[in-house]
C-alpha cells in the first residue's frame, strides 16, 4: 500500500498546476471586437423564479454562457443585433428567442416529459429515457406530507409498493413490501440506500421498554429528502445482490444549487385526532350483560346478581375509557435551511425540529436534527462531497397492551377510587391493569442519537473514466428507560420496577468503484466495476432493579432497589464483502442493454456457503426513435419496451444462525447460582441465502408530446431456498432448524399513468397508479403441505397471510339443542350459542379440526391517485390512496365478542341472542372465556382514503418585495376514508411475514390538520 499512497500528492500537484496555467492563459487573451452588449435573465415561466445554470447560446455560433444564481447572463460580442438565442435548461423546454436590443427576460416552459429526468440507480444515475429496468421515482407533493419518517410518505406513491402502517404511535413504523413479500421467516423489508449507504430498517430495541419500537428511519428528517427512487425489478436491484430481493429504496437528500443562496424557514403546526372510536358498551348495557352472564351461571341467585335495576339506572354511561385516553394532540415541525454555492462548491445546511404528541396521552415523539450536504470540486478532475446528518429523537412509547385494555376495561369501573387513588385493575375475573393508570404512570422512553454520513471523492482519470471512493458510517445509540411505580397494578408485585437498556450499533462502509463511459458514433457505453465492504456491529446492555422504597427516583437510581435484576449483555456482528460490475450499452438511443453482476460474501451463512452470485440482464427498445416510427403515429411521442431478468438474494436472518451456539441457563445448588450452557440449535453448514429469480416486462408510452404517459410492467418473482425454520422432531432436543427450504412466488402487474391535463396559467396534472400482486406458496420444507401459525396457515398453493379458522353458521335456537348442539363446540350447548360449520364432515364440531382458510390479508389491488392543480400562486394537491380486496383479522372484536361480562364487550352485544331476541348472528352472554377464531372476525379491509389534501398560496412578488418567496399552506391528512372495516382503522395492521393484517391492540392512526408557512430569502 505505501507505494500507492505517494501517487495522490503527485496527482494533486499536477492538477493544481494545470488549473493555474489555465487561469493565467485566460488573462492573456486579446480583446475582441464589440458590436453588441446584452444582459438578460432566464426565469421559470410559471413561478417566475430565476433559473440558474441555464445554457444560453447564440445560434449559429459556439458562443454560450451559463446563467448565474439570479438567472442572469450577459453577452458582449462581435455579433450585431438582432440575433437568435437558444436557451436550454434541464427540465425545461428548449427555447429560441430573437433579441433586438440590450435587455431581455426570457421565460422557460417546464418540460412536459420527465424523460430527461435523472433517476438514481444503484451506484450511479441514469436518464429516465435510458432505463431498462423497473424503477419508480417519488418526489414533489407526496414528500411534503407531515409525517415523522419518509417511509410513511410512500403510501400509494408508486405501483408495486405496498405500505402498511404497523402502528399509529408517533414515530411508529411502517412495513413495506415491494412486489409482494417472499420470505416467510427472513426479512421482507426493502433495502434503503441513503446517500449511498445501505441500511436495513430493523426496529431493534434493547428489550427494556414495551410497546411498538420507534422506527429507526424517523431519525432522518423527511424535509431533507429530494427524491426517492424505488428499484423493483432484478435488472435494477441485482447490483445490490444478496440484499436486493425485497427491492431497494434509494434516498437522495437535498443539495445546494450553484450560485444561488437561499435561507428559508418553514414551520408547520397541526392538530391530530382519533378518526373513529370503537363501539363498545356503556355502563348500563355492560351491567345488563354481566347480570345475564351471572344469571346463566347460577340461575338460583336471580337476574340481578351484579347490579340491581336501580343501580343500573344510576350507572348511566359509566366511564368511556377511549375518551379518557385519546386526545387531540399537536404536531409541529420547524425547519431552517441555508443552501447555495458557487460553481465549484455547493452546500445545503438544515436544522430541523419535529414534535408529534400522540393521540394517546403521555405518548410523543420529537426529533432534533441537523444536516450538512457539501459538494466541492476542488480541482477540475476531482469532485468530493459529504452528506452528514445527526439527530436525536425522544419518544414516549405507549406500553404494550394499552389499546386492548382501553377497549376491554368495563365502563362500570372508574378511573379513580373514591379516595383519589387509581383503580388498580379490571375488577372482574379477567385481570388486567387500569389502562389510564398505566398510560399516565408508566415511564417507557426511548432516546436515540444517530449519526449518519457518507463522504466521497470522485476522480476523473481520463475523459469518461472515473474512479470513486466512498466511505460511510452509521452510528446509532438508543437508550431506553422504563419504570413502573408501585402505585399501579403492574407495579404491585415488584414494588416498583425500573429498567435501563442501551442498544448501540455501528456500521461502516467502503465502496470503491471505477466507471467508464464512452460515446462513439451511435454506440454508447457505461461500464461500472467495484468492490465494497460493509461491517455492522451491535451491542445490547440492559439491567434493572425492583422493590423501591420510593417511586420518586424512578429509573435514575437502580442501586436503591432492594432486588437487582440479572444484567444482560450481548453483541453481534456481520460482515459483507462484495464485487460488483455493470455494463450499459445503447445503440443510437434505440437499443439498450444492461447486464450486471454482484458477488456477495456474507458472514451470516454457513461455512460452506459464504459467497453468492447475483447476475441480471435487461434490454429495451425505444421504438419511437426508429426512423420508421415517425410515420406510424403522430400521437405517440414516445414508445419503449423493456424486458429484464435476474437473480437477487435475501440474507435478513440475523447473525450466527448456522452455528450451534450455546445459551446460558442457571440453576440453584445450596441456594447459590450455578451457570450452565446448552445448545440453542443444531449446526447447519449449508445455510445460504434466499434466492429470487425475477422476470420483468414493461412498456412505456408517451402520447401527445408526452403530455400523457403510461407505464405498464408485468413481473414474475420466484423465491426459492427460503430461510425457513423447518420443524424437526422434538426427539432431537430441538424444535426447529433454520434451513433453505421451500419457495414462494409473486406475480403482478403495475400501471402508472401520468397526465398533464391543463398547462399554462392553470395547470392540472394527474398521476395515478394501480398494481396487483398475487402471492402463492409453492413449496415448504420437508415435503410439508402446510403449517399452522396461530390464526394463519402457510399452505402450498395459497398466499402468505391466509387466515385459518372456523366458519360460523348462525346461532343455536331454542329446541335445536339435540339436533344442532354438537355444532357449538360446547359440552353443554344452550340456545344462543354460536353454531359452526362441520368442515371435516365428521358429524360434530371441534375448534381444532373444523378449520379452513377464511380469507387472506393480501390486497387484490393497491391504488394511488394524485391530482395537482395550480393557478397563479395557488397550488392544490389532492391525494387518494387505497387498497382493495384484502381482509383484516379484527382481533379487538374477537375479544370484545366474548360476552363474558368479565370485560367490556362490543356494541353488537346490545343485539345479542336472548329468549326474547332470537338473533341469528350474535350469540348469547355466557361465561366461556375461550375465544374461537372464526370468519366472524375476518372483515373486508378494503379502503379508499383521501390521504392528503393540501392547498398552498405563494404570495405575489409585488407583495413580498425583497423576500424571495412566501408560501402559506394548509393540509389535511386522512381527511376521509371509505371502508366497511369496523375497527379503528383499516390501514393499521400487523405487518409481519406470516401474520400480516391482524388488528389487535394497535395504536390507531390519526387525522391531522396542518397549517404552515415557508419563507425564503
Amino acid at each position: 500500500m505505501p507505494r500507492h499512497r505517494h501517487a495522490w500528492p503527485v496527482l494533486f500537484t499536477a492538477v493544481f498546476s494545470l488549473l493555474l496555467l489555465a487561469a493565467i492563459s485566460g488573462n492573456a487573451q486579446t480583446q475582441p471586437l464589440i458590436n453588441s452588449r446584452l444582459t438578460g435573465r432566464i426565469v421559470d415561466a410559471k413561478t417566475r423564479e430565476p433559473l440558474p445554470g441555464a445554457t444560453v447560446q447564440i445560434k449559429g455560433t459556439t458562443h454560450g454562457v451559463l446563467t448565474d444564481g439570479e438567472g442572469r447572463f450577459a453577452f458582449v460580442t462581435g455579433q450585431p443585433f438582432p440575433y437568435t438565442l437558444i436557451i436550454t435548461s434541464l427540465g425545461y423546454r428548449k427555447a429560441e428567442v430573437i433579441v433586438e436590443n440590450g435587455q431581455i427576460e426570457i421565460p422557460l416552459e417546464p418540460a412536459q416529459s420527465q424523460l430527461n429526468d435523472v433517476v438514481v440507480i444503484g451506484y450511479g444515475t441514469q436518464k429516465k429515457s435510458d432505463l431498462t429496468g423497473a424503477i419508480a421515482s417519488v418526489s414533489g407533493p407526496l414528500l411534503k406530507q407531515p409525517v415523522s419518517s419518509f417511509d410513511q410518505a410512500l403510501k400509494g406513491a408508486a405501483p408495486g409498493v405496498q405500505v402498511t402502517q404497523t402502528s399509529g404511535q408517533p414515530g411508529g413504523g411502517v412495513s413495506i413490501r415491494i412486489r409482494g413479500g417472499a420470505s416467510i421467516q427472513g426479512g421482507n423489508e426493502p433495502l434503503y440506500v441513503i446517500d449511498g449507504f445501505p441500511v436495513y430498517n430493523n426496529a431493534v430495541t434493547a428489550g427494556t421498554i414495551t410497546g411498538t419500537p420507534v422506527n429507526p428511519l424517523s431519525g432522518i428528517n423527511p424535509s431533507d429528502i429530494e427524491s426517492i427512487d424505488i428499484l423493483k425489478d432484478a435488472s435494477a436491484t441485482a447490483i445490490y445482490g444478496s440484499r436486493g430481493a425485497n427491492g431497494v429504496v434509494i434516498i437522495t437528500t437535498k443539495k445546494g444549487r450553484a450560485d444561488r443562496s437561499t435561507l428559508s424557514y418553514e414551520g408547520t403546526y397541526g392538530v391530530q385526532s382519533l378518526r373513529k372510536k370503537v363501539d363498545v358498551l356503556n355502563g348500563r348495557d355492560f351491567a345488563k350483560l354481566r347480570n345475564d352472564v351471572l344469571y346463566d351461571v347460577t340461575p338460583a341467585k336471580g337476574k340481578f346478581q351484579y347490579l340491581t335495576q336501580q343501580q343500573i339506572d344510576s350507572v348511566g354511561n359509566g366511564t368511556d375509557w377511549q375518551d379518557a385516553a385519546f386526545r387531540s394532540a399537536p404536531q409541529q415541525n420547524h425547519q431552517l435551511t441555508l443552501s447555495g454555492g458557487t460553481a465549484k462548491t455547493r452546500y445545503y445546511l438544515s436544522g430541523n425540529y419535529f414534535r408529534q404528541d400522540g393521540i394517546i396521552r403521555n405518548t410523543d415523539f420529537n426529533r432534533l436534527g441537523i444536516r450538512a450536504n457539501i459538494d466541492a470540486q476542488p480541482f477540475d478532475r476531482l469532485k468530493t462531497g459529504v452528506n452528514i446528518t445527526a439527530s436525536r429523537s425522544d419518544a414516549n412509547v405507549a406500553p404494550s397492551g394499552i389499546v386492548s385494555s382501553l377497549l376491554f376495561m368495563p365502563p362500570t369501573a372508574t378511573i379513580y377510587e373514591a379516595d383519589g387513588s387509581y383503580t388498580l385493575r379490571n375488577p372482574f375475573e379477567n385481570i388486567f391493569a387500569n389502562p389510564i393508570a398505566s398510560i399516565n404512570e408508566t415511564k417507557n422512553k426511548a432516546t436515540t442519537n444517530r449519526f449518519f454520513g457518507t463522504a466521497f471523492a470522485d476522480f476523473k482519470v481520463l475523459e469518461g473514466l472515473q474512479v470513486k471512493v466512498l466511505f460511510g458510517t452509521d452510528v446509532n445509540n438508543t437508550q431506553e428507560k422504563y419504570y413502573i411505580p408501585a402505585t399501579i397494578y403492574e407495579g404491585l408485585p415488584t414494588k416498583g420496577n425500573a429498567g435501563r437498556g442501551e442498544y448501540t450499533s455501528y456500521s461502516w462502509l467502503n465502496e470503491n468503484t471505477v466507471s467508464y463511459s464512452r460515446r462513439s458514433g451511435q454506440h454508447s457505453f457505461d461500464v461500472l466495476g467495484g468492490f465494497t465492504q460493509q461491517e455492522f456491529s451491535s451491542d445490547v446492555v440492559r439491567t434493572g432493579a425492583q422493590q423501591f422504597v420510593s417511586d420518586a427516583l424512578s429509573y435514575n437510581s437502580l442501586q436503591s432497589g432492594a432486588t437487582l435484576l440479572r444484567p444482560w449483555s450481548e453483541a453481534s456482528k456481520w460482515v459483507l464483502h462484495s464485487w460488483l460490475g455493470r455494463v450499459n450499452y445503447n445503440f443510437d438511443s434505440r437499443y439498450y442493454f444492461t447486464a450486471s453482476i454482484r458477488a456477495d460474501g456474507s458472514s451470516r451463512f454457513g461455512k460452506g456457503n459464504k459467497w453468492g452470485y447475483f447476475p441480471s440482464a435487461a434490454a429495451s427498445w425505444r421504438v419511437s426513435n426508429e426512423p420508421f416510427f415517425k410515420n406510424l403515429s403522430r400521437n405517440i411521442s414516445d414508445l419503449k419496451v423493456r424486458a429484464s431478468f435476474g437473480t437477487t438474494g435475501n440474507l435478513e436472518i440475523g447473525e450466527y444462525q448456522s452455528l450451534a451456539t450455546l445459551y446460558s441457563l442457571t440453576y440453584l445448588f445450596g441456594g447459590t447460582t450455578a451457570t450452565g450452557f446448552a445448545p440453542s440449535r443444531l449446526p447447519n453448514d449449508k445455510l445460504g441465502w434466499e434466492t429470487t429469480v425475477q422476470y420483468n416486462a414493461g412498456i412505456d408510452i408517451g402520447f401527445f408530446d408526452n403530455r400523457l404517459s403510461v407505464s405498464l410492467d408485468a413481473y414474475q418473482k420466484k423465491t426459492r431456498d427460503l430461510l425457513l425454520s423447518v420443524e424437526i422432531p422434538w426427539t432431537s432436543g430441538q424444535t426447529s432448524s433454520l434451513q433453505n427450504f421451500g419457495s414462494v412466488s409473486n406475480k403482478g402487474l403495475e400501471l402508472a399513468v401520468s397526465s398533464k391535463n391543463f398547462l399554462g396559467e392553470f395547470t392540472w396534472t394527474t398521476d395515478a397508479n394501480a398494481s396487483i400482486n398475487r402471492n402463492e406458496v409453492l413449496s415448504l420444507g420437508n415435503g410439508a403441505r402446510s403449517y399452522i401459525s396461530g390464526s394463519y396457515i402457510i399452505q402450498v398453493g395459497k398466499p402468505l397471510g391466509s387466515f385459518y379458522g372456523t366458519v360460523t353458521d348462525g346461532i343455536l335456537q331454542t329446541g335445536e339443542e339435540h339436533t344442532k348442539g354438537k355444532f357449538t363446540g360446547s359440552a353443554a350447548p344452550k340456545p344462543g350459542d354460536r353454531l359452526y360449520k362441520d368442515i371435516n364432515g365428521d358429524g360434530t364440531f371441534t375448534t381444532a379440526a373444523d378449520r379452513t382458510i377464511i380469507g387472506d390479508a393480501q390486497p387484490d389491488v393497491i391504488l394511488g391517485l394524485s391530482n395537482n392543480f395550480s393557478w397563479k400562486g395557488f397550488a392544490l394537491s389532492v391525494f387518494f390512496q387505497g387498497s382493495l380486496g384484502n381482509q383484516i383479522l379484527n382481533g379487538n372484536l374477537q375479544s370484545l365478542e366474548l360476552f363474558t361480562g368479565q370485560q367490556n364487550a362490543a356494541g353488537s352485544a346490545r343485539d345479542r341472542w336472548t329468549p326474547e331476541n332470537p338473533s341469528q348472528t350474535i350469540p348469547r352472554a355466557k361465561l366461556d372465556p375461550a375465544p374461537v377464531f372464526s370468519d366472524r372476525f375476518i372483515e373486508d379491509g378494503s379502503f379508499i382514503r383521501l390521504k392528503n389534501v393540501s392547498l398552498s398560496y405563494t404570495l405575489p412578488k409585488h407583495i413580498t418585495g425583497k423576500i424571495s418567496s412566501i408560501q402559506l399552506y394548509v393540509s389535511a391528512q386522512n381527511l376521509a376514508t371509505w371502508t366497511n372495516y369496523t375497527g379503528f382503522d383499516p390501514e393499521v395492521t400487523s405487518g409481519s411475514n406470516v401474520s400480516p393484517g391482524t388488528d389487535q391492540g394497535i395504536y390507531p392512526v390519526s387525522r391531522t390538520f396542518t397549517g404552515g408557512l415557508k419563507i425564503s430569502l
Binding site: F531, E535, S572, L659, G676, S732, G733, Q739
Partner: protein, 490 residues
C-alpha cells in the same frame, strides 16, 4: 495500461485489503465445537441439564406436570382463571394428540434428555488432565440420573417411546427419524442409568454449594419407584429397604417443614426441583397458580383448583396436620386487612415471603422424598407377602407424623387388597399437589382410573386416558413414529 496500474488498481486493492473476515466469531455466544473442554465446562453441561427440570414458563416441574397431567385426575381441575383451552381440555378429558400442553411434556422431556446426552457424550471424551476421573464419573452419573428421571416420566405418560441416547449428528433423516422402543426396553434403559447413578456420592457428602444435586440415595429411591411401577415387587421392596436401612433420611417431625423454605433440602428431601424467588430465577409458579385471586394484595392466579367432586379435601380427618399445610380456606388481605374466606385452595407452595407475587415462591418441589419411600416399601412388601408388620410399620410412620391414628390401630388385619387401598389413599393425601396423583391412578389400570374419574364426575374419562397420545406433530414430522394403539380410532 499505466492508468489502470496507477489509479484503478490502488482503488480496487483497497478492497482486497478488507479489514474484516467473513468467518463468524460470536463474541457473546459460545459455540458447541469449542465447548465441553474441561471440568468446569463439563459441569456447565450438567447444570444446564438440571435446569431443564423446569426451563422457562410452564415447564416440566414448574407447573407443566400440573396443567398437562394432574388436571386429568379426580383431585384437580382447571380453575376459573385457567383460560387456556388446552388446559381445560385435559381437565375435562377432551384432549387429543394436538393438545399443546401435552405436546410440551414430550418436547421438554426430550429436550432435557438431549441435554443429558450431550453431557454424557461430551464429558466422556474430555482428555485426562482437563478433568479428574472422580468428577468425570460423578457428572456423568448425575446426567444419567436426570436422563432416567425423564424417561421414567415419558414411559409412564406415553408408553412406548423412542430411546435417544446421543445428540443428533446432523439434520439427516437417519439422525432425526427415530423409532419407538417397547416400554420394557425403556424401563431397562432407565434401570441401567439409575444403577450407574447409584455410584453417585451418598447423601451428605456434597459440599454446601452442591446441595440439591442427585445422590446415590436419590438414585436408589427413584430406582425403587421404577421397580414399583413395573410391579417388580421384590426389587422395589429391596431397594426401598436399602434406602430406609441406610438411615440417610428421616421424616420431619412437622409436616409443614416439608414445604418450609427454612428447611429446604432437609432430612426428608431426597431429590427436589430447586426454586428461589426474586433472584433472577423463576419462582415456583404453583405458589401463584393455586392462590386465590379475589383477595386484594394476594394477586393469585387460581388456575389450579381442587376438583370438588373428587372430595379430596373431605377425605382428610380433622386431626390430620397435613390438611392445614395442603389447603387454605381463608386469608387476610395485606391491602385492606380484612379476612376473606373461600373454597379450599391448594396451599403447599404459597410463600409468605413473596406476598402479592407468588410467581416468585421460593418453595422447592419435591420429586421424591422419604415419606414416599416408606409408602413404596409398604406397598411392595404388601404385594409380595401381604400386609406384614413391616408394611404396617412403614405406612404408620407416615400416618403418625401426620397425627392420624395408626393403621395398625384402626385396621390391624386388612386383606392385601384393602391394605393396597390404604397405601394408595395415604399416597393421595400425603403427596397432594406433588405431581403424583395421575401416576398413581393409571398404575392401577384403566378400569380403576375410569371408575375413579367417573365417580368424581369426570364422565368423559376412558381407558385410553391411562396414557397420553403421541403428539400429532411428531407423527407428522417423523414417518417412523406410529400412534399409540390406544389412541387410534378412539
Amino acid at each position: 495500461m499505466h492508468i489502470t496500474k496507477r489509479y484503478i488498481l490502488p482503488v480496487l486493492l483497497l478492497g482486497l485489503s478488507a479489514c474484516s473476515s467473513l468467518d463468524e466469531q460470536p463474541v457473546s455466544q459460545l459455540v458447541t465445537q469449542e465447548f465441553y473442554k474441561d471440568g468446569a465446562q463439563a459441569d456447565a453441561a450438567v447444570v444446564a441439564t438440571y435446569r431443564k427440570l423446569y426451563e422457562t414458563g410452564q415447564s416440566l416441574y414448574n407447573s407443566l406436570f400440573q396443567i398437562g397431567v394432574e388436571m386429568a385426575t379426580d383431585d384437580y381441575e382447571a380453575g376459573p382463571r385457567a383460560r387456556n383451552a388446552h388446559v381445560r381440555a385435559i381437565s375435562g378429558l377432551t384432549h387429543d394428540a394436538s393438545n399443546d400442553r401435552m405436546e410440551q411434556l414430550w418436547r421438554q422431556s426430550y429436550d432435557a434428555i438431549n441435554a443429558a446426552n450431550i453431557a454424557i457424550d461430551r464429558i466422556a471424551v474430555i482428555p485426562d488432565g482437563k478433568i479428574t476421573a472422580v468428577l468425570q464419573a460423578r457428572l456423568t452419573n448425575e446426567a444419567k440420573f436426570l436422563r432416567a428421571l425423564h424417561y421414567f416420566n415419558l414411559v409412564r405418560w406415553f408408553g412406548d417411546v423412542p430411546i435417544v441416547l446421543h445428540e443428533p449428528k446432523d439434520l439427516s433423516p437417519e439422525a432425526l427419524y427415530v423409532t419407538k422402543s417397547p416400554a420394557a426396553a425403556v424401563y431397562q434403559q432407565i434401570i441401567t442409568d439409575l444403577q450407574a447413578a447409584e455410584n453417585l456420592p451418598a447423601p451428605g457428602v456434597y459440599g454446601k454449594n452442591d446441595i440439591g444435586r442427585a445422590t446415590s440415595g436419590a438414585a436408589k429411591s427413584l430406582l425403587a419407584k421404577v421397580y414399583l411401577t413395573k410391579e417388580d415387587w421384590a426389587n422395589a421392596a429391596a431397594k426401598s429397604k436399602e434406602v430406609i436401612d441406610a438411615k440417610w433420611y428421616a421424616l420431619f417431625d412437622d409436616y409443614a417443614d416439608v414445604f418450609n423454605t427454612a428447611t429446604k433440602n432437609g432430612k426428608e428431601h431426597i431429590f427436589s426441583a430447586q426454586f428461589l424467588g426474586n433472584a433472577g430465577y423463576q419462582g415456583n409458579s404453583l405458589g401463584s397458580r393455586s392462590a386465590p385471586n379475589e383477595v386484594p394484595g394476594i394477586n393469585g392466579d387460581y388456575a389450579d383448583a381442587l376438583h370438588k367432586q373428587g372430595k379430596l379435601y373431605e377425605s382428610f380427618s380433622s386431626t390430620d396436620t397435613r390438611k392445614a399445610v395442603t389447603f387454605i380456606t381463608e386469608m387476610v388481605s395485606p391491602v385492606d386487612g380484612k379476612t376473606y374466606t373461600f373454597e379450599p385452595h391448594l396451599h403447599k407452595y404459597y410463600d409468605p415471603a413473596a406476598t402479592g407475587n407468588q410467581g416468585q415462591s421460593s418453595k422447592n418441589l419435591p420429586i421424591i422424598r422419604y415419606a414416599e419411600v416408606l409408602l413404596i416399601y409398604a406397598e411392595a412388601v404388601n404385594e409380595l407377602q401381604g400386609p406384614t408388620a413391616a408394611a404396617y410399620e412403614a405406612i404408620d410412620e407416615v400416618r403418625e407424623r401426620a397425627h392420624i391414628t395408626k393403621l395398625k390401630d384402626v385396621a390391624p388385619a386388612l386383606s392385601a387388597a384393602n391394605f393396597r387401598d390404604s397405601v394408595f389413599q395415604e399416597r393421595r393425601k400425603e403427596l397432594v399437589y406433588e405431581y403424583q396423583r395421575w401416576f398413581d391412578l393409571v398404575r392401577r389400570g384403566p378400569d380403576y382410573y375410569v371408575r375413579t374419574l367417573h365417580a368424581a364426575g369426570k364422565t368423559l374419562a376412558a381407558p385410553k386416558h391411562i396414557r397420553f397420545p403421541t403428539p400429532q406433530r411428531e407423527l407428522n414430522l417423523n414417518p417412523n413414529l406410529k400412534q399409540d394403539p390406544l389412541w387410534i380410532n378412539n
